[in-house]
């Protein structure tokens, strides 16, 4: 393991992803290198189909690369089996999705509790309540996702992502399904909560939204399967 990898919460070295479809082979990522450090907010921009979401999935250990190495919290993810990766993600990695992905059969509070209970956090209930309070939804803790607006659902998702105090948070188009005002509120929450977690979680943000990207520490553009820094 390299020294750099030791200090980075997430790192990709020579990362490649090829898929074979009915129309032949397709290279999505090729020889991609990336390093994300604790407390850093990185925005990944790019055209649709450029491979942003594929990269996010690989960095989070949700998918297997075809080439290269992926490191997460000091461990090489691509060498772990599916359960090993799940164990690594538990409590260390948070997610915010474009379509919120709350469990429809659980209340807002139970959705936030879920990752805490999966990791066996002792004061799970208190932390879930605090997280909901922080996103301003204490009053709606007992509501089911279908009873909440899109913005509220995404706020619950943010509370769920931050409640376990993760080392890194991956957000895939978190404002993609929201109107502008609500989207801005969500951006504020995502960035503010990162500061408040205490551990200084890294934030990896895949987005089309230049306003959201502007507020990150670093901006990278996906192009031809590689990342280019943006000014």
């Amino acid at each position: 393991m390299s020294d750099q990898a030791a200090s980075a919460v997430s790192q990709a070295i020579g990362l490649g992803k090829h898929v074979t479809g009915p129309a032949g082979g397709l290279t999505i990522l090729a020889g991609l290198n990336l390093e994300i450090h604790a407390g850093e907010a990185v925005a990944i921009l790019g055209a649709s189909g450029s491979g942003k979401s594929t990269l996010l999935g690989l960095l989070a250990g949700l998918d297997d690369p075809t080439d290269g190495e992926v490191w997460l919290c000091g461990r090489r993810v691509d060498r772990l089996d599916e359960d090993g990766r799940a164990e690594l993600r538990a409590g260390r990695v948070g997610f915010v999705f474009q379509n919120f992905q709350l469990l429809p059969t659980l209340t807002a509070r139970e959705n936030v509790l879920l990752p805490l209970e999966l990791t066996g956090t002792p004061d799970a209930a208190r932390r879930a309540d605090e997280a909901l309070d922080r996103v301003g939804l204490s009053a709606r803790a007992g509501h089911y996702p279908r009873q909440l607006s899109g913005g509220e659902q995404q706020r619950v998702a943010i509370a769920r992502a931050y409640a376990p105090r993760p080392a890194v948070l991956f957000a895939d188009e978190p404002t993609g399904n929201l109107d502008q005002t609500t989207g801005e509120h969500i951006i504020d929450l995502l960035l503010d909560l990162r500061q408040e977690t205490g551990s200084g979680a890294a934030l990896v943000l895949v987005t089309h939204d230049p306003r959201l990207a502007e507020r990150c520490d670093r901006r990278l553009r996906m192009h031809d399967g590689r990342l280019e820094p943006l000014a």
Binding site: G57, A86, V93, Q101, T105, L106, D172
Partner: protein
Amino acid sequence: MNAWRLTLRLLRQDWRSGELYLLSAALVLTVAAITAVGFFTDRVEATLERQGSALIAADLSLESSRPLDVRFADAAQARGLRTARTLEFRSVVMGERPQLVLMKAVDPDYPLRGQLRISEALDAPDRPVESGPPAGEVWVESRLLRLLELQIGDSLGVGESRLRIGAILTDEPDQGRSFFNIAPRVLMNRADLDATGLIGPASRVTHRLLIAGAATAIDAYRDWASTRLAANVTLTDALEARPEFGSAVERASRFLHLATLVTLLVAGAAIALASQRLVERQTDAVAVMRCLGAPRRLLMRVLIGRLVLFGLAASLVGCLLGWLGQAGLLAALADWLGTDLPPASPAPVLVGLATGLITLLGFAVPPLIQLARVPPLRAIRRDLGTPRASAALALGAAGLALALLILWQAQDLELGLKLLGGVLATLLALIGVVRLLVHLAGRLAGRARGVWRLGLAALTRRPGAAVLQIAGFGIGILALLLLAVVRVDLLESWRETLPEGAPNYFLINIQPHEVEPLRAFLNDSGIATARLHPMISGRLTRIGERAVEPSDYDDPRAERLASREFNLSYGTEPQSDNRIVAGRWWTEGAEAAPQFSVESGIAETLGIALGDTLTFWVSGHEVSGPVTSLREVRWDSFNVNFFVVASPALLRDEAATFITSFHLPAEREAVVAELARRFPSVTTLDVEAILGQVRQVIDRGVLAVEYVFLFTLGAGLLVMYAGIQASLEQRRAEHGILRTLGAGRRTLLTSLAVEFTAAGLLAGLLASVFAEATGWLLAEQIFELEFGFNPGLWAVGVLGSGLAIGLAGTLATYPLLIHPPLRALRGGSS
């Protein structure tokens, strides 16, 4: 995290969200059907056993030609059982002249079960009595008083004693066991027996030890005694005592179990469809949990734990419903079974719980295993779709569960394997044919236009889902059509096995010289000419070169048959209700060479094959001939039938008595009195009562089967509902897109109607074919009934199914067209 806590939380939420309702309904219905039938048959069997007890005057009877070892009585008394001994023998009593009678000497406790009935005068009504005649007294059949011209109060010479005639014996619970008796019956007290001097060491006496008491003690005693029986002792229990009910009760039980199995199969399909829908709705949730770090084994534990807990809860509800169901059924049959039924055993509850879990695991686990394999990437890439269970795993698990349940329910390996083979072949054929039809519908869609194209293409767009859906519809319609087949065709055929004109009188002990006068008398009395069959006693001594010894047979029935005398007959033609199953009946009539025709059941029991030479000991000499045919006999037809029939050449010259049976309407009973006067030595047996009881078993059996089929009906409707629901998720998104593209509600509604009607027509066609084939197979192979093809079924099956599914599917999916398309496009689930 504690898997149980998560399991319970998810289960509670699933329930609240309504996602489990469909699955619950299917499971509750299956378990309710199984337990209702279980409780019902359990209690009916116990009741029949009790009624059977009345026919042997005990719960158990030990019978021997020698005095029974005293330890059998001692052991019964030591277990708290009641006992009584009877001795039965032929003897001659003295009135004005001697008369052959059948004497029975009984203990004061006789009968232990059932009722003795006596009357005080020839024309007085009879009344029940608690015990047999007191010492010094005999009770006699009215026939004896007429034959000897005696009165009640006169004395009768019995051996060296003279005993007073105290009453006329009108009914004796165990009388039916001596069916072919020429002699009038006389009942005496056993205390008087020694003084008569009738019983010596060489006397031919049938000794019986009657035993009665609590069921558990009887079972324990039966186990104890059956291992200690000498070769000449036979043990009879209450169920064996009613062979005339055997066939009817067995058919009823088969029908009931069949109805249960069909319910199970149909509900299984509903469970499979409902599980698939559950998987579709939970894919995102599982993907998110995996993203959040839930390991696969935890998810497996949670998913299966949730299934087991849910299965147990639903099965318990099913058991409760089953119990209520059987209580309802028994209330409907109270006039037959009475209201004071023995309680049900708890066994059906265990069977119900086990069935619920096995069904659920077999049909729902494969989709759930796939669910645990949802890639976490699905959380950010919805295009990855819903995982599909592998066909091999799904079929394997469902097949295994079905095999277990069918073999268990059938309670007969051969029947179980036949049913299982039939069910699996049907399922495979169903899936194969549906695939083909879906493919053809796709070809048709290519040539169609507009809504027709949209509707038909919908069937082929999701070929896997369409196959599952149409197979589901097909199974649902099949259940409904089978209901019609069973209700209309099979149950009617069953009723017809005992038509209104079934023989209700038997005449036995007809001497050869009485044959022609009796035939003339019957003709003159307007009784349809019945065949008079010669009857000759013979003991089977050899099969081929092998000597027949009762001890050679392990099977108690075979042992009994080998030790007793057969009633043989001869004739030129087989009885009308006989069916030759192997070999050929002799064609040369009276001139045929010596040969035998044997009933197939007894041939199997005794190990007699076609071509074997049988040797019987008849009237002091041997009679031999080859077996040239095996026959199936309808014993429940109440016609005169014989296990072994010979060609006339073989037995024509032996001393025979004759037997016949005929139907006499109740209003013409005077004929019987005249017959008794004109032919005093001929014994008339009135079996109207038994006939009535068998008819009642059939009628009530039909009612019970129809009742249980209500569960099947429920399951059929459920599977169709599940089929409609199964495609709802995908349809929601598709309609969102189509409406965004400008498709009007009317266009979509018509395309839905086209799609569902096409699916309904295909399912109806399949179901009609399978229903007819199943009905034919069931009738011919399992119930041994006549089956007629039913063209009306096809019309109702195909058109009815197209109309019903077209309408129901369109109506159920219509709400999707009311919601704004944006909600569907965003993946909103409400």
